[in-house]
Amino acid sequence: MSSITGHSAIDELPSGDGRPPLDADKAGTGRLGDRIFGGLATGSGIFVIVLVSLVGVFLVIQAVPSLLNNNANFLTSREWVPSGADPRFGIVDLLWATVITSILAMAIAVPLGVSVALFITQYAPAWLSKPAATLVDLLAAVPSIVYGFWGLSVAGQYFDSVAKAIDAVLGWIPVFEFNGSPIAKSTLAFAGVILAIMILPIVTAISREVFAQVPTAHKEAALALGATKWEMIRTAVLPFGKPGVISAAMLGLGRALGETLAVTMLLSALNASAAFSLSIFGGGETFASRIANDAGEFDSAQKTGAYIAAGLVLFILTFIVNAAARVVIERRKAFSE
């Protein structure tokens, strides 16, 4: 269901009966009612444009003074002392934690989500297909804060043995080194796992929509040539659904980057003096969790500006990811018309 993702499969298809939509302006007769209603509708559209522009403008206006006062390099510094006479703050730690948790989430959620979507559209018996889709959709209905609380007080304890097992096998690679500090449920890796659960319904929903649209002729052609079911999926379903899966992954990534509460509750912040660690079993803070953690301390304009600057980077990051997803969808639209 597109309401989870805010993205609709209808966008990708030519309108219902294949004809161009009715030409709007000839139906509106210039009567008062038409002008008022049309004006309201157009006004709402313009309001949305203004709103998004305002977000950018307000964030930039409030971030710039703080950035100008910043005595450290905003992009490369690991310090975070946003107030006082000598404000020094940089985002490199936040960027690392944000990106690594999101990439982990993608690495888990995309293959799993695509498999679940294939299960629902191709493998599930007819009676199970709809309930299965609804159940996976319900995962999206569980609020972020409940995921965080559940991860912290229920599921997290079991992650310790997972982390130890990974460390035992792959621990010689710095990325997988686990030394027990912070505890397993407060690591970037576990935050990534929880994020994966949270974006799974998004990836599944969009993949499901495109897999369901694979022309039956393609599938039957593959089967008629003697392909097994899996070969049919590999040669007919997956190539057709590829752009949809890519955009699903991007939208999931966009959600994971900005996800706040679950990550805030799980991750343990690093000491200011802690050495930089490559390990996914390290601690840290993402953009969103740093802002949420310190939400009570926005007392001076300088300090608030620093957090807004971090928020601005997050905004730009998600903007790029979502725009990329949009480009993929547009290309597919051009292709299918």
Partner: protein
């Protein structure tokens, strides 16, 4: 399409020796079965967190909801050490904020969708559609920071419940626009043409023909959008701190909500507080699930079929 040729050349001779009619080779049959198993396993794995979360919240928070006090009393004067009190203050706050958010975002969202489907052509429509996409992607914490930057830093106002509603509105508008748009697009052009042919003006056609035809679908979208914003916590943390007493004024003081009630207590080690946190989590999940399921049921009765 060359990729459609599925017969692996190297597999051919083996297939012939196995079966004169060129049946599946062992390897191909194995891959097929393996894929089937992987898909089933993936589905079961995907259900584990759902079942686990629901089970855990029910087990740990279920008994709180059975107490009538939970639905009638607030946490006023109750410390983390003491049992008792209820969540009515938080439930009320969550519902009030959701209602006000819906009141603001539904007209804007539906009208924007009407614009996109019925009026918008050319560049402006493309721009609006693009901006709705951007709005969809805005993380809730960034929406909250924006409202904070506008409301508190620029206008110098206090952090008020209404500011939370504004932040939630930003998150709800795009879901309403997208779902309404989808529904309006499903309304057949013949209906519009028939209406125009009878001389009905465009605005009346939209209000009396197009929107009623897709009404249940629009309601579904609104309920699902509402379910999404009710669980959003980031704007609450930045703009709407918790308080333990009943508060209903959107324009003054603080207003407690279920998410902030959880956030307030989740680090507590004392059993009464832990119980209350699970109770609040279960209540929140229940409200959201009810909205979700209601939305889906209404969607079933939709007049326009996808």
């Amino acid at each position: 399409m060359s990729t459609l040729s599925t017969v692996d050349e190297s597999a051919l001779p083996a297939a012939r020796t196995n079966d004169d009619f060129g049946g599946k080779s062992g390897g191909r049959a194995f891959c097929d079965q393996a894929a089937r198993v992987v898909m089933w396993v993936a589905f079961v794995v995907a259900l584990i967190p759902l079942v686990w979360i629901l089970g855990a919240t029910l087990l740990k928070g279920g008994h709180m909801l059975l107490d009538i006090d939970w639905w009638t009393k607030s946490q006023s004067g109750i410390t983390a050490r003491r049992e008792g009190g209820g969540a009515v203050h938080a439930i009320q706050g969550t519902l009030i904020q959701a209602l006000v958010t819906a009141l603001i975002s539904v007209p804007i969202g539906v009208l924007t969708a009407v614009y996109l489907v019925e009026y918008g052509r050319g560049r402006l429509a493309k721009a609006v559609s693009f901006m709705v996409d951007i709005l969809t992607g805005i993380p809730s914490i960034v929406a909250a920071l924006f409202i904070y930057a506008m409301w508190v830093t620029t206008f110098g106002l206090q952090r008020l419940p209404i500011a939370v509603c504004l932040a939630l509105t930003m998150l709800m508008i795009p879901t309403v626009v997208r779902s309404t748009e989808e529904m309006l697009k499903l309304v057949p052009n013949e209906l519009r043409e028939a209406s125009y042919a009878l001389g009905v003006p465009k605005w009346k056609t939209i209000l009396r023909i197009v929107i009623p035809t897709s009404f249940s679908g629009i309601i579904t979208g609104i309920l699902l959008g509402l379910a999404r914003v009710m669980g959003e916590t980031a704007p609450l943390i930045i703009l709407g701190p918790y308080t333990a007493v009943i508060a209903t004024n959107l324009f003054d003081g603080l207003m407690p909500t279920l998410p902030t009630m959880i956030y307030q207590n989740y680090t507590e080690n004392l059993q009464p507080a832990i119980d209350r946190t699970w109770g609040a989590a279960l209540t929140l999940i229940l409200i959201i699930f009810v909205l979700n399921i209601a939305g889906r049921l209404i969607g079933r009765f939709s007049k326009v079929k996808n």
